[in-house]
Assembly symmetry: C2
Homo-oligomer: 242 residues x 2
Amino acid sequence: MTEAEFLAGYDPAAHERPALAVDLVLLGIQAGRLAALLMRRAQHPQAGLWALPGGFVGVAETLDAAAGRVLRDKVGIGGARLEQLYTFGAVDRDPRMRIVSVAYLALLPEAAVADARAKAGLAAASLIVPWAGETGGAISAVSEDGAALALAFDHADILALAVKRLRGKLDYTDVAFALLPDHFTLRQLQDVHAAILGAPLNKSAFRRRMRDRGWIAPTGAREAGTAFRPAEFFRFDRSRES
Amino acid sequence: MTEAEFLAGYDPAAHERPALAVDLVLLGIQAGRLAALLMRRAQHPQAGLWALPGGFVGVAETLDAAAGRVLRDKVGIGGARLEQLYTFGAVDRDPRMRIVSVAYLALLPEAAVADARAKAGLAAASLIVPWAGETGGAISAVSEDGAALALAFDHADILALAVKRLRGKLDYTDVAFALLPDHFTLRQLQDVHAAILGAPLNKSAFRRRMRDRGWIAPTGAREAGTAFRPAEFFRFDRSRES
DNA sequence: CTTAGTTATGCTCATATTGTGCATAAATCG
DNA sequence: CGATTTATGCACAATATGAGCATAACTAAG
């Protein structure tokens, strides 16, 4: 049977379908560390556990649109860089029914992290991002007092994949700039890279590499109020992005 | 409203849901070039156009399982390396109804490509993989007589993304070995890389890089029947994969 | 006003990786 | 046996990265 025959003979209404949802991994920098924004589940199942914001996909709604709607309506953030991550389809990932979830990665500038935390039901969890060898170690979420947070459903897997994806794209895409304000110093940029990788970086080599790459342009402005030599502010030069 | 409230108040049966399908991009090497296996659509819509093999996801079936089932039942290949690629959710991507499709990448060794072509309804399309700058140019499919193939639905987008993903993973994962037989020469390995990248590679540098990486082990065996010095066969050394 | 303290920035040198070319090896074919 | 062709290893150049140091620029303490 060919695909065409199969599709022609298939009555979609006759079969039960999985439900389709989107889940958002909101990542940002907080206090110099990589942090995720999580919601505490108030009801069963998995009441009290921490979960990614999510919602079902409407029948006339794009996946990207569904992710944007969740970001706007549930997290209260208008714009952020959204990127599809992976689709999770384990049969028993939700105990209520079969839900296939398209995970999205949202990269928030530091100011948006603070904004979002002010909303009800949202809390930031610092992420422990160890650098255990090339591929990195296990990622775990801890609250501000250092206690490990239990995540609902398969959301720990989703979170771990998000951090790994972020790491992988870090040095050949512009993801780091999405976590920074418009103007930033080279040190801030380096700190973001180090937070994502979970490892310290060579200062000279990092600066040289970033400048040679041509993605950043000096603004001429300088930091103020520091007790030492002020650093120059740079901005992301989108025009020279490869 | 929190996520928990939303989910609790949501009656999944009350809303119309998108249908969920998987589509398979079958990539392999044929005559030294990167090729995709496509099916010609026999019926409307888009009759006569070329399409990726696909099928709907059962309500009690994992996404990976659905992809494996399509590979087995529609393509007739038992085992191949399957990897989730991206989920396509444009509202009008299928004119019949709303279908969200999880695209999978299947990497076939050269022998499996020939096997699969013997099955009814399957044909190989060579892929034009130009190297236009860093990110690569547009990917197009051509038949063996050189004519461009028109692809159904959004399958050209899916195909293009598959090749880009393959390119991106080429030099830090073992994807190339999935397209080769168990024993291969360094030249064969280089040809696979060149076919995927759409650009020639420096021979000395490539050999040195591959050997230094430690992923391949010499077998001691050599080519036979060549009109010149025979190359040594290597095998992929999975034990030293990072 | 001077000096200590701190970080920014640019420079140099050592090391590692990659690009490039060449010499030699090993097979077939005339 | 010599011509031809590709495989393999080596040497050198060019580039990228790691690491450290000298100087600059600011604040705060004295």
